[in-house]
Amino acid sequence: MCDTCFTHTKTGRMWFKDAKRYARFMYHRNRVEQTKKNTKRIRGGTAAIEAAAGPLIAQAMEAYNIKDERYPDLMRAANRLHAKVQGAQTLTLQDSLDLIDISSPICLIHCECRKAKFGFVERDRSKMTCLGMGIGMYRWEKTPARYVAGAEWVDHDEAREWVIKWNKKGLVQNLMNFGVYNGGPWIGGLCNCSRPDCSSIEMRLRYGEKQLIKGERVAIHSEDKCTGCFKCIQKCQFGAITADIRKHKAYIDAQMCFGCGLCEGVCDFEAIDLKNRRDFPILRFDW
């Protein structure tokens, strides 16, 4: 076992590599009531929070569009609510492959963001970019409005191939977790996103809604190896990499980096390293 596995969580692993996050009882616990005496459960489960958070977020977006002064307060309140329902976190390619190893079953499903924003449902299997994971997928037929194009069952090997293919295209891997409120997060999917389709990236970068959380890694480059080919700039979805004209080398702003690791995959000279976010005293509070 490496050091990084022991420095992360109480259990000694990264939180998404913990088998509890995929377990049946966690899914069950998010759906049905919570049995602890001291804690009070919400009626209607996490759907109640979503119902409360939705109008708040809409208000905050309106305030942003009009350039109202109340926008930061509104968005802060919306964040506090919505962070407890559903969230996403960016992953590197290696971490997302590890995540596929743990979870089962796996389905190919269509992108909900594209459907909700543009009314576009990809019924063709080769254009799908989402993976549904976990035992929640067994009941996909009960919510036909979500799975319009159906769900196709996929092997672990096949899922790995898909993810590598999407990663080469330049899509960012985001894990989706559900029911953060009751009993901790439960991992239910792996989205492969790009702007402007992905609503979580768009909402985070434009409106400042923290549904998408930065990843566990940070890209840090060494200027000795960088040759200034600037391939990495094309790949970055978050605008963290710019061209430093003075040195004719790339410059990565670590406070804007989300740790997706796309730049590391492109670099031919191994100039970019992915390091743990929690090792840096400033970045460990920046999510």
Binding site: K10, I42, A48, A83, P185, D244, I252, P281, I282, W287
Partner: protein, 135 residues
């Protein structure tokens, strides 16, 4: 070289360069400026107003000045402390303490196993949900 850790709400970092120790930054080829991955350091010539009409000399002291003026960019990797031959750089970090049950952005998803921390918010939610159902 000094690191101070205190507890506050927001992490703050300050990078200071001791002017008396760092007098010839161009002689040591300004290692802090080159090796910093976030480009925190700036090199100024003419630190004193009285030298405005002098030509700056690399080998004479106090003609060039290194400052950590872009300190909000700093991530605290502490490489500049190792690289400086004069030990002129000092970094002060004030970070919040880590507690259980904190806000998830500070410690994403870990502290949430403990339970529900905010009882008022839950009551508000309940009332809001009731209104939502009636409509």
């Amino acid at each position: 070289m000094a690191i101070q850790v205190k507890s506050e709400d927001v992490p703050i970092i300050r990078v200071k360069v001791d002017r008396e120790k760092c007098q010839l930054p161009m002689v040591c080829s300004y290692k802090c400026y080159i090796n910093c991955s976030q480009q925190v350091f700036h090199v100024h010539s003419y630190p004193n107003v009285s030298r405005r009409f002098m030509k700056p000399d690399e080998n004479s002291p106090k003609h060039y000045l290194v400052t950590g003026s872009a300190a909000p960019r700093c991530i605290g990797c502490m490489e500049c402390l190792d690289n400086c031959p004069e030990d002129a750089i000092s970094i002060e970090i004030t970070t919040p303490e880590i507690k259980e049950g904190d806000h998830p952005y500070k410690h994403p998803f870990e502290s949430l196993d403990v339970g529900m921390e905010n009882q008022k918010l839950i009551d508000e939610l309940d009332s809001r949900y009731k209104r939502f159902v009636k409509k």
